[in-house]
């Protein structure tokens, strides 16, 4: 059944809503606000009863796909189960009710948590210091690039180029452009690594930084990382680690040991906060050596058992109000302390095992462009199906009919008809087997009955939407 919008449910004059009598003196609107700021008409608010509102949004929420209900192997997004204990901890009154202006003497618990979380993140990544302010992954990227800019400005070096591999997340070049840099793309080789020859040809004294995701968005470990590191540093540039894929490496390998100078993490992904609904997220940035002094916000240090805030002398300044998205920090802390060092290692091992299990089962029916052991995710190509007239998008839509979320499609850009699958460590074998059976059944349908795939989805509340039409006519307002 189609759900009406809340505006369509509106019945003018709905009597159920009654505001209490006000207990302050009445003000005349146009005596306190200049006329030019007063809207000629009241906003078009829907008039609906409380019960109408509850039922409307409950029905919508039941139609929404979510990781608590179904398997969500959306590559690059790490849609793992988020333990409920994190929700409990972040809602504790001492955390949730704490005012950011309470002062450090009255906020010791929260500050201690942030101090210890920073230390844990340093331990996990091999960095020397962290800022917890950035509110999301791309915000962390921008922060690290602004640090890069300030660093070279202080050194008196004019470097305006950022290198990004052709497999990079789209946010990398976007963040670089936003920070005022120009972008050079570096090619991948046939093995899925950075093409060393191409990297050499792109490096010069204008290059400020190489942004690298390891494992890459192909789900492959960058085995040439030591060579890449020495080339970039020899050319005087910095090395930046996009932490989007840290879920593959926790406790196994550290960006700091690989030679990265700056790191961002997605706490909401790797360290278990519900995400994908628009936030709140958290994208802490870590730095090595003298770069630590450029981080936003104060350094948290222990002084006689009290956590105190020390200003950083070369800080690029604040990038977020107060302490960042503190609730996400609490969840990350609980996740790290709950699993412990051994648990984090085990989580990454299981994430990698799950992805390799799926890749092995699916590579008969779909092309696997890079024939290597994958890390926490892998990229299939539907090129074989495309020759029969069925695209990766069609297959993604058909998966919805089987009750699974679709993989990421058409990314990374260097794989034609890409299907990017990340099962995460929290799925059991039965769930992954059911997903494999569904994809294998779809591969058979492509050969025997392609129309059912091309016209999918059939069992979802909304059928195939006109994505091109929606992108061309940018109408966000229904009324």
């Amino acid at each position: 059944m189609d759900e009406k919008t809340i505006f369509e449910l509106s019945r003018p004059g709905t009597p159920e809503i009654q505001m209490p009598e006000h207990d302050v003196p009445e003000m005349i609107l146009d005596e306190v606000i200049p006329e030019k700021f007063i809207a000629p008409l009241p906003p078009p608010m829907p008039e609906v009863s409380e019960l109408d509102v509850i039922r409307h949004f409950t029905r919508l929420s039941n139609k929404n796909f979510n990781v608590d209900a179904n398997f969500y192997p959306l590559g690059s997004c790490t849609m793992k189960y988020n333990p409920r204990v994190g929700e409990w901890a972040s809602r504790l009154h001492g955390f949730a009710g704490l005012h950011p202006y309470a002062g450090y003497e009255n906020s010791q618990g929260a500050l201690k948590l942030m101090e210890e979380l920073s230390e844990d993140l340093c331990e996990i990544t091999g960095m020397d210091g962290f800022t917890l302010q950035p509110a999301a992954g791309a915000h962390g990227e921008l922060t690290a690039l602004l640090i890069t800019r300030a660093w070279f400005k202080d050194k008196g070096e004019d470097r305006d180029i950022i290198l990004v591999p052709d497999t990079s997340h789209g946010t990398n070049p976007a963040s670089a452009a936003m920070a005022g840099f120009n972008i050079r793309q570096v090619k991948s080789d046939g093995y899925g690594n950075i093409d060393i020859g191409d990297l050499k040809s792109k490096l010069d004294d204008k290059v400020a930084c190489l942004m690298l995701t390891n494992p890459s968005t192909l789900g492959l470990f960058e085995t040439g990382i030591e060579k890449v590191e020495s080339l970039v540093h020899k050319a005087g540039g910095l090395l930046y680690y996009d932490g989007a894929n840290l879920n593959a490496l926790m406790g196994k390998s550290r960006p700091g040991d690989m030679g990265f100078d700056l790191v961002h993490l997605n706490l909401h992904k790797t360290f278990a906060t519900p995400h994908g609904g628009g936030g709140p997220g958290s994208g802490p940035v870590g730095a090595l050596g003298p770069l630590v002094d450029y981080l936003p916000g104060d350094e948290l240090v222990d002084e006689d058992g009290l956590t105190v805030m020390k200003p950083r002398t070369r800080s690029i300044g604040r990038v977020r109000s107060f302490y960042g998205n503190f609730g996400v920090l609490v969840k990350a802390y609980v996740y790290i302390r709950g699993l412990g060092a051994e648990g984090l290692v085990r989580a990454s091992e299981c994430a990698v095992l799950s992805a390799n299990y799926l890749a092995t089962r699916l590579k008969e029916a779909f092309d696997l462009p890079f024939k290597r052991r994958c890390m926490h995710e892998f990229v299939l190509s539907a090129s074989r199906q495309k020759k029969l007239g069925v695209s990766a998008m069609d297959i993604a839509k058909r998966i919805l009919d089987f009750g699974f979320h679709a993989p990421t499609v058409y990314f990374p850009l260097i794989v034609p008809e890409a299907l990017m699958i990340e099962p995460t460590e929290t799925e059991n074998k039965q769930t992954m087997d059911a997903f494999c059976e569904a994809l294998l059944a779809i591969a058979r349908e492509v050969e025997e009955n392609p129309e059912i795939v091309k016209s999918a989805p059939h069992n979802t509340p909304v059928s195939r939407v006109d994505e091109a039409g929606a992108a061309r006519k940018l109408m966000l307002c229904g009324i």
Binding site: Y410, E467, A468, A471, R472
Partner: protein, 137 residues
Amino acid sequence: MVPNDLKYTKEHEWVRIEGGIAVTGITDHAQEMLGDIVFVELPAAGEKVEQMGKIGTIESVKTVSDLFSPISGVVKEINKIYMDRMEGAENPDFHPEYANHDPYGKGWMVKIEISNTEETANLLTPEQYEKLLEEEA
């Protein structure tokens, strides 16, 4: 589909030389790879362009990609089907989907007044372009 009366670039633009004017757009292969095209940003008429310099951006439902000028010269005209608004109002002739449906015809993008005819020697013949497609496949 590679029409044999056109020239091509290795970045998948096609060119039709009409006197001193080069008409250009993206090839059928390019539109197939990009998928449904939703917006095309083009240079303004009168702008100077260089051979293989970036002159625009093509946005599809899958990705964003650069458009390169096949030749040096001055932009003479751009195809109005790619302008979603004109003179502050919605353009009733906004039809970016022609880049998908008719890439060599109604989907043309830019007309350039050629400044150096010798540069046409750098363009690919249909045979060379077909070979490039085979190599990239």
